[in-house]
């Protein structure tokens, strides 16, 4: 057990999740190594977001256990921060208040939390927009607000639910590159849900492929060779392209 706690930031064991009659997850077990980015990849409706929300403590599992840094968790906690697919910003609040919201709920005083928020607003490249409102921002900017909010609570585990699927393709590519740098520079564990094979192979240290309902892990892929290449060369690397193709071949049978 102690071996796992040092190597794995998050561990899920024998998770079952039923929605009434529908079995969404069946006997799913998976480990997420510390300091790395693990993707949950699979077609629509395969339970990846359900699993992520169970890890976040937003949904209860019907059966099974989730361990974060060795401790059993059943509710949201300060050790995990969530980035939402539809940004989940408060339209009535400024960017500064939105980013500082996680700290506000933790009771941090106003000056302190605004300073921390300002730093992360700068890190995600939104300087000058602190007093803007969400409706004045583009989709990509809104997601950066969501990301800054998740980073500013300084949790060791970052859960990202298809964070780039609601933005345009160019912004998405930029975000993927930025994410690689983020993983390198921040000492956090990332769990990343996506349905894009290219995206998963591009950003991940480890890819867990989930099959459609009832979901369980079919394969774990650890891309190696191109991980240390610079962001521009990865997409041309032959191992990258081969990995993408082989994943598509195995997933294809489930979509047809």
């Amino acid at each position: 057990m102690s071996d796992q706690t040092t190597a794995n930031a998050v561990s899920v064991k024998n998770i079952y999740k039923n929605y009434g009659e529908t079995e969404a997850l069946r006997d799913l077990s998976l480990d997420f190594p510390k300091g790395q980015l693990t993707s949950l990849l699979g077609p629509s409706g395969c339970g990846k977001t359900t699993l992520l929300k169970i890890i976040a403590g937003l949904l209860p599992a019907t059966q099974g256990e989730v361990f974060v840094n060795g401790s059993l968790v059943t509710k949201p906690g300060p050790d995990r921060a969530f980035v939402f697919q539809d940004f989940a910003l408060m339209p009535w609040a400024s960017v500064l208040r939105n980013v500082a919201f996680g700290l506000e709920l933790r009771g941090v005083n106003k000056n302190e939390r605004e300073d921390i928020a300002a730093k992360y607003i700068k890190d995600v490249g939104l300087v000058g927009f602190e007093n803007s409102f969400p409706h004045e921002l583009s989709g990509g900017m809104r997601q950066r607000v969501g990301l800054a909010r998740a980073l500013s609570v300084d949790s060791p585990v970052l859960l990202m639910d298809e964070p780039f699927s609601a933005v345009d393709e160019q912004t998405r590519r930029k975000f993927q590159e930025d994410l690689l740098n983020l993983v390198k520079n921040e000492n956090k564990t990332f769990i990343f849900v996506t349905h894009s094979i290219e995206e998963a192979v591009y950003v991940s240290d480890q890819i867990a492929i989930l099959l459609p309902r009832p979901s369980r892990v079919s394969e774990i892929i650890k891309p190696k060779g191109f991980r240390n290449k610079d962001v521009d060369s990865i997409r041309k690397d032959s191992e990258y392209l081969d990995t993408v193709e082989s994943i598509w071949k195995s997933l294809r049978t489930y979509v047809e």
């Binding site: 939402f84 989940a88 909010r149």
Partner: protein, 252 residues
């Protein structure tokens, strides 16, 4: 520096008053005075102090009724939105208040509460509260679930979710309900004076009608409409002060 919205308000006022003046002059109806005649009557009433005495009477049930309808109405609306049991218990009362014709309820009110301030406050509340409660409860029930989930994920307590997410998220619709409800409350205040006992501005209206002093009648009606419009503008300013992000401009 004239803002666009202020300029439009002045322009629309000018168009309507111009049309009124024209209609009065071309003799659409013998009982329709021109705009200028009505303004002169209003001026006379102001100078003689009559209008202020009248408002001293009308404002009492109006202010009390609007105050109760707004604060208690929003409170009940939030509770109805949050609790299914409370909704089941309380909603029928407001549906009846909304649907029943006021003229039918007034005799019941008079029998129960007499012809004084209490009955008039009740009339204002009957007109104002249902729409405020309904709008508030619907807005609360329809809070987007992803923002609520976000608050829970960042360790928000139930109280945090209600105060920091549900109520601000509901505020645009709550304020819309307030605008509708308070306007109805103004109507209720005048109706109470026309139907229960004549006091204040309602008295000016019915007395001038009986003595065929139509300019004064229209002057009194104009003054109450003007007061309602000013109050609605005040509500808009209040909303902008508390919830600046609500003003998202127009879609096009």
């Amino acid at each position: 520096m004239l803002t666009r919205s202020f300029f439009l308000k002045i322009l629309s006022g000018a168009l309507i008053f111009g049309a009124w003046e024209y209609a009065g002059r071309t003799g659409v109806n013998y009982a329709l005075p021109t705009f200028l005649e009505s303004m002169k009557a209003l001026f006379d009433m102001t100078m003689s102090g009559l209008i202020f005495e009248a408002y001293a009477d009308t404002l009492r049930p109006l202010a009390v009724g609007v105050f109760i309808s707004s604060f208690i109405g929003i409170g009940i609306g939030v509770w109805v939105g949050l609790s299914e049991k409370f909704d089941w218990l309380v909603s029928p009362i407001f549906i009846i208040m909304q649907a029943a014709p006021l003229a039918a309820l007034i005799p019941l009110l008079i029998m129960a509460y007499g012809i004084g301030l209490t009955s008039k406050v009740f009339v204002v509340c009957i007109m104002a509260m249902p729409v405020i409660v309904l709008n508030t409860s619907v807005a609360v029930k329809n809070t987007p679930s992803s923002v609520k989930e976000m608050a829970r994920s960042f360790l928000g307590t139930e109280k945090d979710v209600i105060l920091k997410i549900i109520i601000p998220a509901a505020s645009p619709v709550i304020f819309a309900g307030l605008r509708l409800g308070v306007s109805a409350g103004f109507i209720g205040a005048i109706l109470a004076e026309l139907k229960i006992t004549p006091t204040g501005v309602g008295d000016i209206i019915s007395y001038s009608r009986m003595t065929a002093d139509y300019p004064s009648m229209y002057a009194a009606i104009f003054s109450i409409i003007l007061l309602a419009v000013l109050f609605l503008n005040l509500l808009e300013k209040i909303e902008n002060f508390f919830f600046k992000g609500n003003n998202q401009g127009y879609i096009s």
